[in-house]
Symmetry: C2
Subunit: 183 residues, 2 copies
């Protein structure tokens, strides 16, 4: 029997404060991390960045899955739309509540999740708009690391070996060397 709670909540990542020149590499790392660890897609504010979208879409087309990339959306609008549709917002910040203390509550909520990661400074308002402010360590850390560890914990450390649908290329685990198979 399928009940409404069997629906898998959607999980999107919102990368805020992206500046094309300065942040392209780190934002690319955010997107690859989100995809590899099971998010459904990423929304990047504030600049439209076609090169970033193309890079990530190329990876998805080669290695599979249905990961979406949207750039250039103002963060307040993205948040407001998410809340309006009934979703919850998780903000990853060193100032928040420790991940081990709060992950159970987040995991057991059935709503769609928008996971927000900032570059350097984020607007103070965000701490109040978020449903949960979550600290992956209460130390200065990378938003890329924070996202990686958050997703790994959210999915109970079970996503690392999961494959992707429609992959054209597949990496074959090897002790010493590189092996890639074409589908």
């Amino acid at each position: 029997m399928t009940t409404e709670t069997d629906r898998k909540p959607r999980l999107m990542v919102l990368r805020i404060g992206h500046r094309i020149q300065r942040d392209v590499r780190v934002t690319t790392h955010v997107c690859l991390t989100a995809r590899a660890l099971g998010a459904d897609g990423v929304i990047v504010t504030d600049a439209k960045d076609r090169r970033l979208s193309e890079t990530i879409e190329r990876v998805t087309s080669e290695f599979g899955g249905h990961f979406t990339v949207e750039t250039g959306k103002p963060w307040r609008r993205a948040l407001a739309e998410w809340h309006k549709a009934g979703g919850k917002v998780v903000h990853l910040t060193a100032y928040g509540m420790p991940l081990p203390k709060i992950i159970g509550e987040i995991r057991s909520s059935g709503e769609d999740k928008l996971v927000v990661v900032g570059a350097e400074k984020v607007p103070g308002e965000l701490f109040h708009l978020a449903d949960w402010n979550v600290a992956v360590t209460s130390q200065p850390i990378s938003e890329v690391s924070a996202l990686a560890i958050f997703l790994d914990w959210l999915f109970e450390h079970r996503r690392l070996e999961k494959g992707f649908a429609d992959a054209k290329l597949r990496i074959i685990p090897t002790e010493h060397g590189k092996r890639v198979e074409k589908a």
Copy 2:
């Protein structure tokens, strides 16, 4: 009774292929991740980068711990010295063996560990010099994420709330807002 096996193995991170202009942000993320998640220090090849060292040393001086940063060392020499001193080398790469399958063996080895993370392309030789090639997902991912998840797993998901000795500043976990205390 203290036996020799009670000694906690040293854990250092080797960041290879660092180019000052291109990689400064991502390498900073690697260093902050290594520190926050319990590594003892980082060695950065190939360029000497005083600004990077100063940034990380300032974080350590404010937030505590004894994290070391060394830049400008050739990677082959760093690896050779590590092996000569009896340490083991872990290379994080999407081509390696799945983390969940191999982490037990790495965790139970008592030797010091050098965890190698590359930028973009790494020399093929490295796959053969490493004692373990470890994949944090067999997908294109960030080396920052790979390092974060590897360290979290290595320390059995118990490091996230650990404090640091001699901190001048301490972040106080807060539901909605920012709170920092001076020691």
